[in-house]
Symmetry: C2
Subunit: 309 residues, 2 copies
């Protein structure tokens, strides 16, 4: 990470829109790297926590964006991103020429391409930059970013990317490629969580020692990053949301829509999406995505570990 | 690995039934560790290769089993295992009291339990011992074994296990537990291969750089052991079978049957099984299991890399 003060320049102004688990960490990472950071969120509480940590606030996103060199949008989906840019009080028409909009929401690549065109006609750069890594890595400036956009967009965003990410994949000069790579990752992640929950709860139904199952599987060909990461929540009986069921209702939903318009069949993703929908419908939408295990248990009478403390 | 000669005893006689990719390696590992090994296979060619490598042959499995301390059964499924033991010319009634039958076929845990009871009433031990690791590790005596059985069965099998395996999981004193752990692993492995093929071919359909997809995914939360291991076959366009489509037609079929009798829903495994069945039906049953990618390509018009040499 380069601190801007080293360059003895006026700090660049970075606006972070969305101070949730990821956005707050990213805003603080930018602050730490020497940016003058304005945080914006619909939650006044989130904004005041950011101000207490040394950040600035603004009365509206437009007011904040007017003075920004860099806007980092950490909202949930394409609709919110479009609203930030082109909704009532949106920022597309107030951002300065040469500034850059870094969009981290997971979305359909076609939408990312459209938003990019709309901004570039205003001489504002658009970097398609979905993120992965979770809240802890966001707070440490160690995210992974799957980015695509023009050379000019990368150049304008470079210092902010360096402040927020441990690894930036440069995936081409067209907005949409970053989004596409992220969707491929989400397809696999969503299916693997569902498979992990299907397997561990079947093991419970068969009366196997689940800690032993975890030990054997994580050392075997059946392992996945998600099995290794999520099954400890099930073993602890702790479904406090680190990443919620609704995230995959959204992301596998985007996969379905994309694949349908591409005339591409996705039977695995489709089966997984139905399980996330069922978990959400059964009242677990805001719980941890490992709650699929609880759904399988409800559907089969299997017993899973309960939270002990 | 302990070599028996160190103990200055007459070498133990080990019979290996099934000299395929796995069985041949296991037989040679036993030989290397000092066992007097008899190899049996329906293929005369496989037997003669084993004899050229210093092994012994026999005129029938019964003749071989009569003098065995240890029988290692490396056949494909429960039906073949039952046939080896109780079919015409089967070995259950000729094995010596105190000898051990090590069964490595992947099968329904209930069947493993039944076979064990039938042998133990004859004072022959049964070790439920499914294997994983592939042909290369079999040849090097570095398999993973998921084993369960009585203390006496483990004790009788110990030296052979040490010769064949780098890691032996001891999963309880009841035959069936090893089989159950193996089925949980196969559920995950089968779903992960299908998900990997669904994802990489969707990436191809979207026109992404597939080598870059492999690089990004293997460093991201969407990774799995199977994605990392199988997708290189797709990138090379090389579907020479290392493990065939039919293996998962079998193993996910066992999962379906088990889960149905447990009244446990397995939507992910069910979707994956349909894809393996479709690949088999389309003529790829004996090709590498990564051929699911070719199936997705056929179903969607996506272009995958072709073999270059």
């Amino acid at each position: 990470m380069t601190t801007l003060q080293e360059n003895a320049e006026t700090p660049q102004v970075a606006v972070v829109i969305g101070l949730g688990a990821m956005g707050m960490g990213m805003a603080l990472s930018l602050k730490k790297a020497g940016f003058d950071v304005i945080g914006v969120d619909i939650s006044a509480d989130a904004v005041s926590r950011f101000v207490q940590a040394g950040g600035r606030s603004a009365s509206s996103i437009a007011e904040a964006a007017r003075e920004a060199d860099i806007v980092v949008s950490v909202v949930v989906n394409a609709a919110q991103t479009e609203n930030v840019l082109f909704g009532t009080g949106g920022i597309a028409d107030v951002m300065r020429p040469g500034s850059v909009f870094i969009s981290s929401a997971t979305m359909d690549p076609a939408v990312a391409g459209k938003l990019s065109s709309q901004l570039e006609t205003r001489a504002v750069h658009y970097l398609d930059a979905p993120i992965s890594g979770g809240a802890a890595r966001a707070a440490n400036g160690e995210l992974t970013v799957m980015a695509s956009g023009t050379k000019a967009a990368f150049s304008a965003a470079r210092r902010a990317l360096d402040a927020m990410a441990a690894k930036v994949y440069e995936l081409g000069d067209t907005a949409g490629a970053g989004a596409a790579f992220k969707m491929i990752n989400q397809l696999l992640a969503g299916v693997h969580i569902a498979a992990a929950c299907e397997a561990i709860t079947l093991a419970a139904k068969m009366g196997l020692d689940l800690d032993k199952v975890y030990e054997v599987i994580t050392a075997s060909a059946g392992n996945s990053w998600m099995f290794e990461n999520r099954i400890p929540h099930v073993l602890a009986g702790d479904y406090t949301p680190l990443s919620a069921i609704e995230i995959f209702v959204k992301d596998l939903g985007i996969i379905q829509d994309m694949a349908r318009s591409e005339r591409y069949p996705v039977p695995l993703s489709a089966a997984a999406l139905q399980m996330y929908l069922a978990a959400s419908g059964a009242g677990m939408g805001r719980d941890d995505d490992s709650s699929l295990a609880r759904l399988y248990a409800q559907l089969s009478g299997a017993s899973l570990p309960e939270k002990t403390r």
